[in-house]
């Protein structure tokens, strides 16, 4: 019953030499063929692997040498036509292949979607249904948090700007259509096409920069934050000391944050070392917090460093200080780990102290419920969740003794768990977050092209493609897009009897 053809990485990323990308849906073989150099996957026998190359859909350049396994439904996992592409396992390669598939017309699979399709096509046992529902359900609460993060991202900001321009255009066209006799100025075809060309140039530009620029740079962007003197620098040095290869070193463009690319037990991490904090922390502490906040805006993961000895000194009810409280309210909105440094200075019942800290942190933030159309709903983490996100370490000790780096290992273990466990399709994960936005841009670009080809067509027909572009850029369905337009019409124009 599904119409779309979906694709996703189906092996855990970041590990292993070979990765498998699965394409499933009615056009699986046709769409893969578009970017596959080798025998036609539509013509070769089903269930037989074919050697070939995957090309970039836009440039035709070879991305990777692969084995492709085309399979006709229903004898497949999902019951649909499927192609499995075995490629070289690096994240960079996987990501480029996925993007090429998106450009060819595939959609990015949602979490649990392959399994859902398998179930709906009668390929799974009745008892498995609940596990599937749990899996999809889990995605929702997670994606709400992710959505929050995305709102602040640089790419999101630009996409939302384009979306506004399109809404503006649509509203002007629609008001002329629905209120032909009112003294609202008629938008001319020339104005429509001028805007369309400008928007198309913007989406093209964004896609291009997303391909070559910083946005495609691999790895998890992690920001190291915390009050002065808690040991951020030591932790940084510890992590750097452990690195196998520094891939690159880029001074930040917009603020004086230094990015270090490192490979943490096989996980590519882009560590945003808030250099600014280190130089100014002795002078004005306030600035430190502000810098931390700024660097958090663009990251996938916050590493919050707390000083174990300070926890002790505040008595039985463990509360971080005011500044840290403010910081926590921001941090808890994003994926994060709490690094409790100087564990050797942790006195008394360490475990109780941490539980007490978790409880007070949890009590500091309250859940926001989701009102109509309110995108900023948020589920506050409970104490157990917070406890689970804590890592106890002594950075100084570990730096000195490379044979005993349990803390560091725990950090990389937790990062792996957060970002690379099981299903890679969680929208909160950086690989996908960006890919979704790119998918939106690709679809919008296609719709804009169609609109631009309609020169000479009446405006109500052009509006069909413009509306498609508008919808591609926001996660709204067709009817709610209509509502957005109607609301905008009435707020902007003076109409009525």
């Amino acid at each position: 019953m599904e119409e779309s053809t979906i694709c996703a990485l189906s092996t855990p990323a970041g590990t292993g030499g070979i990765a498998v990308i699965r394409v499933s849906g009615p056009d699986a073989r046709k769409l893969t063929d578009k970017i596959f150099k080798g025998s036609s996957l539509q013509k070769v026998p089903s269930h037989r692997a074919v050697h070939g190359y995957i090309l970039d859909a836009a440039t035709g350049e070879v991305i990777d040498e692969v084995m492709a396994l085309p399979m006709k439904g229903p004898r497949t996992f999902t019951g649909e036509d499927t192609v499995e592409i075995s490629c070289h396992g690096g994240m960079y390669i996987c990501r480029r292949i996925l993007e090429s598939l998106l450009k060819a017309g595939c959609c990015l699979a949602e979490k649990g979607e392959f399994t859902k399709r398998a179930f709906l096509n009668g390929k799974m046992d009745l008892n498995e249904a609940e596990a599937i529902m749990d899996m999809i359900g889990a995605r929702t609460s997670c994606s709400l948090r992710a959505a929050l993060g995305q709102l602040e991202g640089a790419l999101s900001g630009k996409i939302s700007h384009i979306r506004h321009t399109l809404l503006d255009l649509l509203v002007q066209m629609e008001v002329n259509i629905d209120y032909p006799e009112y003294d609202v100025p008629e938008i001319t075809d020339q104005q429509v096409f001028e805007t369309l060309r400008q928007v198309k140039a913007e989406t093209d530009g964004l896609l291009k920069s997303a391909d070559s620029g910083q946005m495609l740079r691999l790895g998890i962007a992690a920001a190291l934050v915390g009050s002065p003197n808690v040991g951020k620098s030591t932790i940084l040095n510890l992590m750097l000391g452990r690195q196998r290869a520094i891939v690159t070193e880029i001074p930040g463009t917009t603020r004086d944050v230094l990015e270090e690319m490192l490979d943490l037990d096989g996980i590519p991490v882009r560590l945003m070392d808030t250099a600014g904090i280190r130089s100014t922390e002795d002078v004005v502490e306030k600035i430190g917090v502000e810098r931390s906040l700024a660097s958090m805006e663009a990251c996938d993961l916050v590493l919050w460093v707390l000083d174990a000895s300070l926890l002790k000194s505040k008595g039985s009810a463990v509360f971080p200080d005011e500044e840290e409280q403010a910081l926590w309210k921001k941090i808890c909105l994003r994926p994060h780990l709490l690094l409790i440094n100087k564990k050797d200075l942790l006195q008394g019942e360490g475990k109780d102290l941490l539980s007490s800290l978790a409880a007070s942190l949890s009590s500091l933030v309250s859940s926001r419920s989701l009102e109509d159309g309110d995108e900023t709903a948020f589920a506050a983490p409970d104490p157990d969740e917070i406890l689970n996100s804590m890592v106890l370490l002594s950075a100084k000790e570990e730096e000195r003794d490379p044979q005993h780096q349990e803390g560091l290992q725990e950090i990389s273990g937790k990062i792996r768990e957060m970002f690379f466990s099981g299903d890679m399709l969680d929208p909160g994960k950086p690989l996908v977050t960006n890919a979704r936005q790119k998918e939106a841009l690709i679809r919008a670009g296609e719709a804009l092209d169609r609109a631009l080809q309609g020169e000479g067509m009446p405006q109500d027909l052009l509006s069909i493609d413009i509306r498609d572009a508008f919808e591609a850029l926001g996660e709204v369905n067709g009817t709610s897009a209509g509502e957005e337009i109607v609301t905008e019409i009435f707020s902007r124009f003076c109409l009525g009897k």
């Binding site: 359900g137 995605r139 209509g482």
Partner: protein
């Protein structure tokens, strides 16, 4: 109380919804009775003297294609007809007529009177008798009990109505008529049905002989008017057309309004009902759009034999003397005399989330409602719901499938789906922007979309249906002919030429010597279908896709709390709306695509489990 004769269907209210509902039920062979507070108010137009316009014209043609009366009635009683939006694409061409509102209602009442199976009664229904969750009868203010199997509430703006002009208010319905205060609201509320209070308004009517029309811009009808009804040939429209006039407010008008704002019930807090955004009063416009130097007004004749003019654009609830002063500040109206003062009106209506898509109330078997009572606005929206409620009441009594109208086949479907799925916070007005398949839902093809369904339910007779099938064949033949015939002068296939933006069916005539002599609408229809084929095909694909989810039905008694993986908000919303299909569920605000996935898996699991249980039972 005494018992009157038993009926099948009772229609409460004789406005545009009530008329279509009663006619549909009676024409389908049901013993039907229509109650109106005053028989003089049957099919009355208490606001603007016009029918149709953008998207509303589409509704009228859809009502007509289903076998309704509004289109035919306006074709008999128009003062002027115009096709709007002709500079734009065919999807948004919109037919609009100025109506002789006196003749319109007289003509409609006469049609009702001649209708077999239809009784007309001046009386107020004050109670609906419900036995075991089913409609058993209705009771009038005079104590008459009419047993019936279904009832359709079409009370418009009459229920507990209150009219306000400035500091003066009356407990009347529209146009100074009696309001319905006999207890129907309380009776409906007693069934646990949630009610709302909405507000709307109308401008003053002025005396034409006190207006200097030479100071205004004249607006004539189309030289060759197009009929609304697919039944009426263009030649049958022979009425002389009457013009409208265009005028503007000015700075002085706005000053008068601003100086008297404190006397406005809207700003003084006297009116609590929710008013529509698309129909702001002039005081609203002046406040909200303060930088606008002038607002446009239309002077529209109310009838052929009256000098009354409707001042479109001047809706107001300011006191009478202020209304007079502001009207007199307008060029050409310096000496104008008011005949009827403009007013705001508040009335009781239902929360449309209480309705199924058949327009039956979820809580009471056999109780339907239509029109402004359902939270809509406008004569055309009312008529559209009226015919749907009328047909569906009959289908329910006959145990047959309800009328198939949905977002993919009609504006009527969009209207009803929006109301019952999203509810509304203001009187709902139809707009073409509300339809996601606008190109498919054109006014020119309303018959192609709905005649089949009108025939299935029995409102389109064999004679009309035969003519419809013939037209359909002619269109298909003309499409294939155009696609395969070469043009004179070697310009290629006619079908290909037609796709050029600058070409039209008419412009190609000279290159098309073998063109058969076809009715105008057949040629035009064929041309539209070829010219916009690419767009039409892609919208059709979207429709096909949407229909798959529309066909997946959800049991009415589903316990959403039981479904694992659904978010709390989704559970609450789904539980409140109780969507009939997965398609409808996905349009509820606050229900995410992930929730829909969970729902799909749950429904499949339920289906499998039930199947398994059946098999096991069979084995035993």
């Amino acid at each position: 109380m005494y018992t009157e004769q038993a009926m099948d269907v009772a229609v409460i209210g004789g406005g545009h919804a009530g008329c279509e509902a009663a006619l549909a039920a009676a024409r389908l062979g049901m013993k039907t009775i229509l109650f109106a507070l005053s028989l003089d108010s049957i099919a009355m137009m208490p606001c603007n003297p016009s029918i149709g316009g953008t998207s509303k014209g589409h509704l009228v043609r859809e009502v007509d294609a289903l076998g309704g009366e509004m289109g035919r009635n306006i074709d008999k009683t128009y003062l002027q007809i115009r096709m709007l939006n002709t500079s734009k694409g065919p999807a948004v061409y919109s037919l609009r007529a100025q109506a002789d509102k006196f003749r319109y209602k007289e003509e409609m009442k006469s049609v009702l009177e001649k209708q077999e199976n239809l009784w007309i009664r001046q009386n107020e229904v004050v109670r609906i008798d419900v036995q075991e969750g089913r409609v058993a009868g209705v009771i009038t203010a005079t104590g008459a009990y009419y047993p019936c199997k279904a009832a359709i509430i079409c009370t418009g703006t009459y229920l507990n109505a209150r009219c306000i002009h400035g500091d003066y208010e009356t407990l009347t319905g529209p146009n100074g008529l009696q309001s319905a205060r006999g207890g129907l609201t309380e009776n409906i509320a007693s069934f646990g049905i949630s009610l709302r209070r909405f507000k709307t308004g109308t401008p003053a009517r002025v005396d034409g002989k006190t207006i200097d029309f030479s100071q205004m811009e004249i607006q004539e009808g189309d030289p060759v008017p197009v009929p609304f009804s697919f039944e009426d040939p263009a030649e049958s429209l022979q009425r002389p057309q009457v013009p409208c006039y265009l005028a503007y407010t000015n700075e002085k008008t706005h000053e008068i309004i601003r100086a008297n704002l404190h006397r406005s019930p809207l700003y003084g807090g006297v009116i609590h009902g929710v008013g529509p955004r698309y129909c702001p009063s002039i005081e609203d416009k002046v406040v909200r759009f303060a930088d606008k130097e002038r607002h446009q007004l239309f002077l529209e004749p109310e009838g052929e034999h009256t000098g009354e003019y409707y001042v479109q654009g001047m809706s107001s609830s300011l006191p009478e003397d202020v209304q007079r002063d502001m009207l007199r500040s307008i060029r050409g109206m310096e000496h104008v005399e008011i005949m009827r003062t403009g007013y705001a009106i508040e009335y009781d209506c239902v929360d449309p989330l209480e309705l199924k898509s058949t327009l039956e109330l979820k809580k009471i078997h056999g109780l339907f409602s239509a029109g402004q009572f359902n939270g809509s606005s406008g004569y055309e929206e009312a008529a559209a719901q009226g015919i749907v409620a009328g047909i569906n009441a009959v289908m329910l009594l006959r145990g047959q499938e309800p009328l198939k109208v949905d977002r993919t086949n009609s504006y009527i479907g969009v209207l009803i789906d929006d109301l019952v799925t999203k509810g509304t916070n203001e009187p709902y007005r139809m707009m073409t922007s509300r339809s996601e398949y606008r190109l498919l839902l054109r006014q020119d093809n309303a018959d192609l979309r709905l005649t089949e369904e009108g025939h299935r339910v029995g409102l389109i007779n064999e004679d009309r249906y035969g003519r419809f099938l013939e037209k359909k064949t002619l269109i298909q033949e003309e499409i294939s002919r155009l696609k395969t015939t070469r043009s004179l002068g070697g310009r290629g296939l006619l079908g290909d030429l037609l796709r050029h933006p600058e070409e039209s069916y008419a412009s190609l005539k000279e290159y098309d010597p073998t063109r058969p002599d076809l009715p105008l609408e057949v040629g035009e229809q064929a041309a539209i279908q070829i010219k916009y084929e690419g767009y039409i095909t892609s919208q059709m694909k979207q429709v096909e896709k949407a229909r798959k989810l529309e066909r997946k039905s959800i049991p009415r008694d589903l316990d959403y709390k039981e479904i694992r993986g659904l978010r709390l908000e989704a559970i609450q919303k789904l539980d409140a709306v109780r969507p009939e299909t997965v398609g409808q569920a996905q349009r509820i605000s606050g229900v995410s695509p992930a929730d829909i996935s969970v729902l799909l898996v749950y429904l499949e699991q339920k289906h499998l489990r039930e199947k398994k249980e059946r098999e096991e039972a069979n084995q035993r």
